[in-house]
Symmetry: C2
Subunit: 357 residues, 2 copies
């Protein structure tokens, strides 16, 4: 039997999203490839999780993550009905696609950006429009509008470049279209500003947040979506009824009630970002300013290309991210900002490799 004949042709034809390598726990590896926080979750989160491990795990969780929505509303000055909770912000991106994109509908994003966007569009059999950043850094407003897309995705700060487009450009885009504009703020806690104040001005603006970066809980899969109530109601129909488990809900509430505890680590990462940017530049890497918890470093001209650097560092037990499939990124490494000690080890490893040619 030709089983593949039963699979949707668009699924058979696609490659699927390739997540960064996740080594087994306990390996002696410096992990700078998937932008996790080098610091673990603070004590109130740990304590809340321990307290929630009991017989109640036999019961379904609250379907809509009500307490998480209420805590998020309180933390961010929204109404709980404007919040949808996802099993990671990837779940929210999937839900947005399945809520808005029918076969043939357009999805647009500045390019390069998060490589999951075109994959999710393919799964909806939508049309993905990759619109190059204007002057490498500005929002390509004209191009995004001209695409006719129903859904426009802007990662701010952007991955893998790390830059954040001026908020005023996002506002201009929202004002100029009836398309839904999604501001993917997975990395925004490391930036100088965020798009939340724009929500009151533009009802076609949707914001997504992640607990996987600044909030130290990549392992628990929690994301937040902020959007008008009328759209949230539609997304709830598409969502799996119990998409967030009990422990993730408990952890999310604890995080949202203790956001202040994350500020020291966020500041430490911003400080370390300056240090690592400077250290890489001193070694001949080109490193543009980043507003995220990673930098996109162009390797020095020479015999060793981007892929070689990635492999050579891996041999020294340091994982960085390489996007070799994209020619514009083939001489670049995306490097997560971690602790000062790990940054030092990375720079030492680079020195070692340079000495050995």
């Amino acid at each position: 039997m030709n089983l593949l004949a039963q699979v949707r042709p668009c699924v058979v034809a696609m490659d699927g999203y390739a997540p960064g390598e996740q080594p087994r726990d306990g390996q002696p590896i410096i992990k700078l490839n998937t932008n996790e926080n080098p610091f673990g979750p603070p004590q109130p989160v740990i304590e809340a999780l321990h307290a929630a491990i009991n017989d109640a795990l036999r019961l379904y969780p609250e379907p809509s993550s009500r307490e998480v929505r209420q805590a998020a509303a309180a933390a961010f000055g929204l109404d709980a009905d404007q919040v949808v909770v996802g099993n990671g912000s990837d779940d929210l991106l999937t839900l947005l696609m399945r809520t808005f994109i029918a076969v043939g509908d357009g999805v647009a994003a500045p390019d390069p950006s998060y490589t999951l966007y075109p994959v999710l569009t393919q799964l909806q059999e939508g049309l993905f429009h990759a619109v190059p950043w204007q002057n490498q850094l500005d929002l390509p407003i004209e191009g995004l509008l001209a695409s006719g897309a129903k859904l426009i995705l802007i990662a701010r700060p952007n991955a893998p470049t790390g830059h954040a487009v001026p908020l005023e450009q996002v506002a201009q885009l929202c004002a100029a279209t009836t398309a839904i504009v999604v501001l993917d703020e997975a990395y925004v806690d490391f930036a100088d500003d965020n798009g939340l104040p724009l929500m009151a001005r533009y009802e076609n603006l949707v914001i997504t947040r992640s607990f996987s970066k600044s909030l130290s809980l990549a392992g628990l899969r929690i994301g937040l979506g902020f959007l008008p109530t009328v759209l949230a109601q539609q997304m709830h129909k598409v969502r799996d009824s119990y998409n967030l488990d009990r422990l993730a809900q408990v952890a999310a509430v604890a995080v949202l009630r203790h956001l202040d505890l994350f500020q020291p680590t966020i500041q430490a990462i911003r400080t370390e970002r300056r240090y690592l940017t400077s250290g890489l530049r001193q070694r001949g890497f080109q490193v543009p300013e980043s507003q995220a918890n990673f930098v996109l470093a162009t390797v020095p001209a020479g015999r060793r290309g981007g892929r070689d650097w990635c492999n050579d560092l891996k041999n020294l037990n340091i994982l960085v991210r390489y996007f070799g499939h994209d020619p514009r990124l083939s001489d670049k490494l995306r490097i997560t900002i971690a602790t000062h000690a790990d940054g030092l080890r990375l720079l030492e490893a680079i020195d070692l490799l340079m000495e050995n040619n």
Copy 2:
């Protein structure tokens, strides 16, 4: 701005799935409405969870739930590549739909059955064929084949009826079609047999399992899909990269390594099923034999209809499930089998209501 104009028409038009009521934790309620296990998870699962609450929560989980797949393969005599892990078996049902069903493709299921099936089909803009059970209990093989569906979903034991079609009928269907046949075994641990032995004979057979019923972890959202490797590879492309969080993966492994610890509670529930079936029959309810951890009871003829019974019991702090939207089910209650004490309280409440007419 008419925001709904941007939403897919099929989403705007649909009602969405309505999960059973989930009261706040700590309410003095006897919860017999969503088929959870009355017994909490055993100690090794609790201990594994406590041990996993640490700094590693800052890191992404293993994307494919590798250790869960390996433990499931060992427990069920499969290859780890034949296992896909879902954020609950609802996630797996969603993934199956998104893997196989394009716009206009057919999905068929015996009717009545799990009401999520038509909802998920609508989200794919597929065509749902509800084929009535033959003689109320047998698989309607001819009708399912005649539908031309690409995906055929059979809940076995079925919800809400509780009956399990003979496995030989499932085998006949698999042999007679190239469609993908999904055997939804969420309740199978309470039945006399399961479909796993059929997997070696029919490569178009997919089996899904849930940790939410017999395995006491509805709160953690874990499901397993068993299917040919070639199809599992396609489903992984559709799956969110990190769909199962670290704690759910840890709990799932602990459960799969200690399946024997669940046998006493499963046996207790089967014993209680006999007791409650008998008690309800003595009070004038019609209760067919069930192979699941619930019964579908037809209320006694009289002034009090199904909806009244459901509401009156709720006023006595007992939740049961009522499917009033379906005229065939309007005189029926689906009642979860719980502890002997809770079964007694239900029967006492019924006696009280009958005395008060």
